[in-house]
Symmetry: none
Subunit: 194 residues, 4 copies
DNA sequence: CATGAATGAGCGTTCATTCAT
DNA sequence: AATGAATGAACGCTCATTCAT
């Protein structure tokens, strides 16, 4: 009954991670100050180091948590059976909204930028990315056209993440029009020719 | 006749900008050290401040220079006349190679990330981006399908930049396969129906 | 009857003092961490402050305890009667071993170094040192040469502590040879000319 | 004519070393603050790092400089020929004064204490100490008793450094009386039996 | 009596920027 | 125009000490 809520604001590690996320979005991994993270986590700077060894570790764990969330998100493809292309199209509006949320697109940008500089982070990201992509491919396998599936998926992911980046450079991006056009792109990328 | 060569290695401002570009790609805007930029520009750190007020200004001007280069690049769309979709397809391999060049994709990432943090830079980028897009639209106008052209262009740009980001997260991206599939996407995005 | 055993491992103050001693030898007064002392004393860091006001106080009391032990040690001179020079010579091997024990020589070094920095500690050490020396002089008085006895004793103590320091700077010090030579030095310092 | 004075206050490295020496004597290696050293060296904290990589390096170089000075000091034994024991006795007053200078005895204490904790420093000190001792032995070789010479020298050095330590614990040490008694100790340690 | 989570001042060090030359 | 020595504020992080429980 009184089950501890998992991952609430009461878990101090989680509080730090959430605070760091906000600080990273606001100032970038390098620009974010431990003092700011501490303040947002309602914790003294020193106490953060009871939960994390370093700022680097906070970055690494936040990236990992980000991928864990993505894992959950892609599980819905598993359940879509052979309706997966229809599902992608049905969910398009939400997907575009998610990718154009400035919070998430900014974080994605930071993560990619960190991968270009920190080899340890890069390797970890690439492993997680590959695992995620492998899962998605196994879920799509039977219901979409199979030729060059991996590359088609790469293009789809590139497109969705690219939309996030475009929304940063052009926040007046017409999400509705984009959503409509994306339907055709998804059809051409994935629909099996009966 | 003895016109000063514009943008050669002899122009010290240009030298700083090129050096900064390399340093930013290697270490990010925050990670790059003025000392490193000075060394690469073969100039003392102090002397950089004769040409630029601050590191921020170097970032801003480097981004501007980046857009100036892009302006030159898009001019070829102007010259393509009504063959523009064919030209996009013919150039696809080069375009993919350009977007997956780690140097440029890293720089693009830094620029986008900076836009999320520095409002002045963000505003300047958005102006330049809008101008660039306006030009491209005017060049495409007569030779591609006109419905929702701006959004179709956004999607195309998102896709190309997204491929750059994907290449960072997954450097074993199959560029050849991607190039092939992109042909179909371009057809569906831009080809006028008879 | 049920007298509390003094100075056993059950006395928590004593446990802290012993733990501090080990930590100070391992890391120095400054390098030793309260957390380490607490761990060695099998006590929480916070609880140490029920027994001691500060780290400084632990240092001061540990030094005092060190002198109390020395007091016990010098009592044997009292019991030697007029055989004291012979006893010094007989005990030489043990004395050298004691002074070259890294534990005690390190502690001696820390104590002397602390005396150069902390005036309160310095004053307390000087009092205790003077008292100790006074006792030894009274024990030696009747059985050794009396001219300049205090200075002869100073030289003897300097020599023994100096050997401890030499053993730190040159751990391959030949203790056996040193012991042999010291016999002659003691003879010249203390033996009464019949 | 206008020869640069070697090691004057104009050499900034030397200024840092001298400032560090004073700060180390006043507060110990650990207690001394870079800000304090900077202030005493009339230099900003940041600028110290143009000359030294770290506080550790300053400590290491100061110790080395200390040994270089000692090397110069022991050279006079070389020139004493077979009068070396007489010279030791003649110089005794100065030697005692040098060893009881609180500045130098405090520094010696810090150095020995550092050797018990920092293995790199310890190894360097031991090498320098061994070299120094080797030199002295070669200078004494022909004019003092040869049995166990190395250990006799160790005892002499221990005695002199021990006097420095005693002077810290008992600053009212009677240097004159000590000097007188030391003559006999030197005779017994080194004088050749005709 | 006892805990250990929590604090926050202060450390060694870095680096954008300045300025005497 | 050009240098590079010099600055000092600000960083990530540590640890003696406190205090709610």
């Amino acid at each position: 009954m009184s089950e501890a809520l998992p991952k609430t604001c009461d878990d101090p590690r989680e509080r730090v991670l959430r605070a760091a996320e906000r600080a990273f979005v606001a100032s970038g991994f390098h620009g974010a100050r431990m003092a700011q993270i501490a303040k947002e986590a309602k914790m003294s700077p020193g106490h953060i180091y009871h939960y994390f060894e370093s700022k680097e570790q906070i970055i690494a764990e936040m990236i990992r948590a980000h991928y864990e969330e993505k894992k959950v998100t892609v599980e819905r493809y598993r359940e879509a059976g052979d309706q997966v292309v229809d599902m992608m199209i049905d969910n398009l509006k939400d997907s575009v909204a998610a990718k154009t949320d400035p919070f998430w697109s900014t974080l994605m940008l930071e993560i990619a930028a960190e991968a270009t500089r920190n080899p340890e982070v890069a390797s970890s990201i690439r492993n997680m990315d590959a695992e995620l992509k492998g899962r998605v491919i196994s879920y799509l396998q039977d219901s979409v056209r199979k030729d060059n599936l991996e590359s088609r998926l790469e293009i789809f992911v590139a497109l969705m993440q690219g939309i996030g980046m475009r929304n940063i450079l052009n926040p007046s991006l017409d999400k509705e029009a984009v959503t409509l056009i994306l339907r055709d792109v998804i059809e051409v990328l994935f629909r099996q020719k009966d």
